[in-house]
Symmetry: C2
Subunit: 191 residues, 2 copies
Amino acid sequence: MASSVREKIVNAALDRFHVLGFNACSVQNIVEQAGVPKGSFYNYFKSKELLALEVLGIYAQGVRTEMLADASIAPMDRLRGQFAFMAASYKGYGYGTGCLFETLATEASDQTPLIRNAVAQLFDHWTGLAATAIRDGQAAGDIHGHIDPERTARFLINSWQGAVVRMKVTNDNGPLEDFFAVGLAPLQRGT
Amino acid sequence: MASSVREKIVNAALDRFHVLGFNACSVQNIVEQAGVPKGSFYNYFKSKELLALEVLGIYAQGVRTEMLADASIAPMDRLRGQFAFMAASYKGYGYGTGCLFETLATEASDQTPLIRNAVAQLFDHWTGLAATAIRDGQAAGDIHGHIDPERTARFLINSWQGAVVRMKVTNDNGPLEDFFAVGLAPLQRGT
């Protein structure tokens, strides 16, 4: 079935982009992993970049950023919980594999404007949700009032990406633990 | 002259690895940029990975991490100064080009153990120097005493790499400014 070939390509791309990166992953790598004829690729995708956009969207839905705006959870628990959820997914892939956001962001360039825009929007959306959690925490008296919610949210999300960079080198979760201890914990009042 | 061909290859590799990344940069890309015959490459380098190691060492010497241990400069000024020096170099390359440390770190994998080890050692060395600056600042009463020097140094350096990831997407220095304001400034007592 046509839909099944398409699905195989998307699933294979999710894996291959994650492991190899966007630039080093060829259409050939993807169709081999998918077990479909190379000729079928362009029946479904006009370019590797458009496939990466779709894969990025699927990955983004899996990292539960919406948890950051869940008013039924205490704001600091939302922040910790969402990053911890991502940490658990990295553990599943193997720490050395990293995060697809980071991989695509770091390869973003003038040559891949669609990916650069998509990653920028995902980071901005994620930042907005984290800023909401910080503002809610300030309103509840749980998070220090002197903190700039937007700027701090950007910094935390960037710092998380940096922890992922170091994680790919150390191949363990030490950099993520440093993030929780030094980056996140100080937001909380009374700590 | 033989030495001149070698130098051309190293300089071309510094540029091409920086712009294209390690995986996407072929030996062909390097010899084209260097303007030397492809056959000459393997007279000087046994592999692309060994060339990357040499390039990484050259880049590392250029980022002035030794400034962090310079006792003639106030510790917070060392920390700010060294990151500001890196920021200035990114501006020179174009913010979208990023940082060679980050590029090689994020592509580090089981397939390139020499690069992974070299990047790990560079990060550890840099972390050690930043921790020294933090300890000196604590001894001088300029930096909050409750901060864990090693862990905070690791976090700051990782966060800087993350700011670089975001910088490659935004193509401006906003993420670096967020780092200075949210990551670095709070170390200083009386701020």
